[in-house]
C-alpha cells in the first residue's frame, strides 16, 4: 500500500548527520513505492538549501544530492522562512525585500512558512524528524 511522508530536517549538513540519514530514508521510501509529500527544513536545517557550499571534492555534496533527488522525484523542498531569514538563506524575492547584496537559495528549494509543516503533518501518513545528534 502506498503511503505518504513529510520529512522535517532540523540539522545542518557538515555540522550534523541529519541530512544524510534523511536522504537514506527518503530514497528507501520512494523505492518502496511510497510518496514523499514534502521535505521541510527547519532551524539549522535550512543550511541544506544553500547554493554556496563547496565541500572538499572527496566528501559528499549533500545540498547537491538533495537537490537532485527532489528534482528527479518532483518533491517540494521548503525552507522555513523565519529560520532562513535569521540564518542568512534568501531567494531573490527576500533579497530585494531586505536589500541584501545577493541570494543563495539552491533550486528547487523554496521559502515558506510553518503552515507548510502543519499541512504536511495533517495530510501525510507519517511526519518524521531528522535532528542533529551529538
Amino acid at each position: 500500500m502506498s503511503e505518504t511522508f513529510t520529512l522535517v530536517i532540523t540539522g545542518a549538513p557538515y555540522s550534523s548527520q541529519a541530512p544524510q540519514t534523511a536522504l537514506g530514508f527518503a530514497k528507501a521510501a520512494v523505492d518502496a513505492g511510497h510518496q514523499i509529500d514534502r521535505v521541510f527544513l527547519y532551524g539549522d536545517g535550512v543550511h541544506l538549501a544553500s547554493a554556496l557550499c563547496a565541500p572538499p571534492s572527496d566528501e559528499t555534496h549533500w545540498p547537491d544530492e538533495w537537490s537532485r533527488f527532489l528534482t528527479q522525484h518532483k518533491i517540494p523542498g521548503v525552507a522555513c522562512i523565519a529560520s532562513a531569514l535569521r540564518r542568512g538563506l534568501v531567494n531573490e524575492t527576500e533579497q530585494k525585500r531586505y536589500e541584501l547584496p545577493s541570494a543563495n537559495l539552491r533550486a528547487p528549494f523554496e521559502i515558506a512558512g510553518l503552515g507548510e509543516w502543519v499541512e504536511g503533518r495533517i495530510k501525510s501518513t507519517r511526519t518524521l524528524y531528522f535532528h542533529a545528534g551529538d
Binding site: K27, A28, Y129, H131
Partner: protein, 94 residues
C-alpha cells in the same frame, strides 16, 4: 515483525540527556530504533531497555565499528526503517 505501539528513533549517544529520557519514556510495547550516534548504546549493553524491541541502522553500526550486535538487537537497513515507521502506531524522533 510484530506490532509496535510507539517507535522511538534515537540518534544521540548514551551520554546525551535525551537518550536517558527516551529510554525512561518507553513502554514494553514500544520499539527503539538506534541511528547515528544512537548506535553507541550497543556498546553500553546495561543501558539498553530490557523489555522492548531494539533495532539499529546498519550503516551507522558499521561506521562506528560495532558489528557484533548483542542477541536482542536486530540490524535494519533504510528499507526496513521505512517499514518500521509505518508499522508503529506513532513515531517519535528524539
Amino acid at each position: 515483525m510484530t506490532d509496535i505501539q510507539t517507535l522511538h528513533i534515537l540518534n544521540k549517544s548514551p551520554d546525551h540527556p535525551r537518550a536517558a529520557r527516551c529510554v525512561e519514556m518507553m513502554s514494553a510495547e514500544d520499539g527503539l530504533l538506534l541511528t547515528g550516534n544512537g548506535v553507541l548504546l550497543l556498546a553500553r549493553g546495561n543501558l539498553l531497555p530490557g523489555a522492548s524491541k531494539v533495532f539499529a541502522l546498519i550503516p551507522d553500526v558499521e561506521a562506528r565499528g560495532l558489528g557484533d550486535l548483542s542477541g536482542n538487537v536486530s540490524s535494519v537497513d533504510f528499507a526496513e526503517m521505512v517499514t518500521l515507521s509505518l508499522q508503529a502506531q506513532r513515531v517519535i524522533s528524539w
